[in-house]
Amino acid sequence: MVLHKRKNKKNKDDEYYLASQWTLMGRKFKKHKLAMVSLWVLGILYFVALFGNFIAPSDLVAYNSKIMNAPPTKIHMYHEGKYIGPFVYGIDMERDPVTKRKVYSENMDEIYKIQWFTHGCEYKFLGLFKSDLHLFGVEEGGAILLMGADSMGRDLFSRMILGSQVSLTVPFAGTIISFVLGIIIGGISGYFGGVIDTAIQRIIEVLSSIPSIPLWMALSASIPPDIPVVRMYLYITIIVSFISWTGLARIVRGKFISLRKEDYVMAAKISGVSNFKIITKHLVPGFMSYLIVSLTLGIPGMIIGETSMSFLGLGIRSPATSWGVLLQEAQEITSIATYPWRLIPLFAVILTVLAFNFIGDGLRDAADPYK
């Protein structure tokens, strides 16, 4: 046809008209500034999570009763007017005579320099090989608490970074589960129709009519309390993915029904192509972009889900940690008023959720490249 004839005569118009769906989407997506910024933000967050054990100066179990609820340590450059590079002072603890509360102050006599690439607690880097190298730390005997300490004297900064390894991966695992469930169940429903379709639709309708948090709570409550961390993680992920797969299954079903009537599917059918091949080669690529958009838009819900459950004590439980677990300490107003740094993980949650929302929005706009 016309397009083929002109292939050798490449010009700008052709590039515009012949660009694949994905190239167009990419081009449009890049124009969405917020989405691009969000992509960077998430890139950094995931990078930090990946190298978490290396970046965090401490691990999940290390605690120090001398620094329970200590505020963030200040980093100094000058001691008595003399430049000695970044360092922290020692921490002194006193009890307030009236309230009996611990009060921390800087001990100007003790100086602990900040060191780069120090050796500290051991961990398995990327779960593969052992290492005890950390990005930074202070000299023996001192403590650096970028975001303060929790009630057991654990470094909140380290806990937040290590917690992100759970909080940031749950939505991905959940997305994979949603994707598989959504495509299979929605596909079966849409492709075969009839009684199967009606039954599946009813079940989805019922499942989605139970409000999500109560449903999550009920399902989380059924997780036995003393199971290995990995299994607990898996269960939470499956529960959280409930928010996404039902919606996805509906989209897939709807697309199947409308695409089934398309001529090219009919043509494939008449040519004797198998059902499975029609589904994988013709139907799924036809609405892949919508699936990706819908999956991305489902991610914030999953993050909120995991955080909520862990926050209520129904999700991830110690020794494992996630942002929701950290926020448990911020449940009471008095606790936040006294130790406001406990709110820091909350901003990590909001930042991540917003970033995923923006990316989802950018993708949604981009999915319609000719608009």
């Binding site: 016309v2 002109r6 700008k12 118009d13 515009y16 124009k31």
Partner: protein, 341 residues
Amino acid sequence: MDGKETIISVKNLKINIALDEGTLTAVRGVSFSIDKGETLGLVGESGCGKSLTCKAILGINDKKCSTEGEIFFDTDAEGEVDLLKLPPKGEQIRDVRGKQISMIFQEPMVCFSPMYTIGNQINESTRLHITKDKKKAKAISLDMMKKVGIANAEKRYDQYPHEFSGGMLQRALIAMALVCKPKLLIADEPTTALDVTIQAQILELIKELQKDLQMSVLFVTHDLGTVAKMCDRVAVMYLGKIIETGSVEQIYHDPKHPYTKGLLGSVHKIGTKKQERLFSIEGTVPLAMNLPSGCSFYDRCKDRIEGVCNVKEPEVLAIESNHTVSCHAVSRTIKGGSSIE
């Protein structure tokens, strides 16, 4: 012209569309006029700017479009007014729309809101422009519905668009456009979306009503057969410019512009010998965004003169009274012609 009363004259109309990729000049200086009772056919391929020109007359183009030039229209209230100067949301232009100039569109199926009955939407025009009185308005609307051939109009009045067939919807759309007896009807490819048998009926209907109401029609189409049937004069448009105008006879029997010739060559005539292939114009319409300099038809033209056609844009050349053409090749062969503008 010829002592006839001119109803509308469009002068040097330009329409720019602001896109992400840059500004696209979709209409590049279009001029034409229509006399009372006359039908002008605006012919061209899709994307050449016909629809934009029509909508510009009513001032209902998208926000992205900016318009230059003049459109003089003989209004009821104030005589000749430049429609482009009127604020597009103001009362003055709204008094013109639907009442003095009406428009019918390509796809009647999407021209009615699915939420309201056909009667409601036709009657909206009546009540807006003729009478506020509910009973009288309904009577007028029903009368028009009958006139356009909607059987059982009383029942149809209370039905919703999805209960109508395509042809019936087009009739309803015509009723809605003509209920206020406008002076000018703009018909933007009114039959493209319809079955062939229904096309003929609709064209017949428009012709009949035109006679009845003594209105002028701007008939937009890409179908030359329809033009021959409907129009008095023809303007051929290519890529945002009118490249040839003339009476139907002139255009059909003595086309000058290579593009017009090409268009006519691609119409299937009954009685052609079997072996003869239908003529087609080489190439595709270039994107109006990166137009080459010179004549925009240069790439596809059979008669192009290198060094002339791809350098300078051709000017409008009057060959006979009412027959103009813009082509370097034509102006070379006909010395007698004098250029205007």
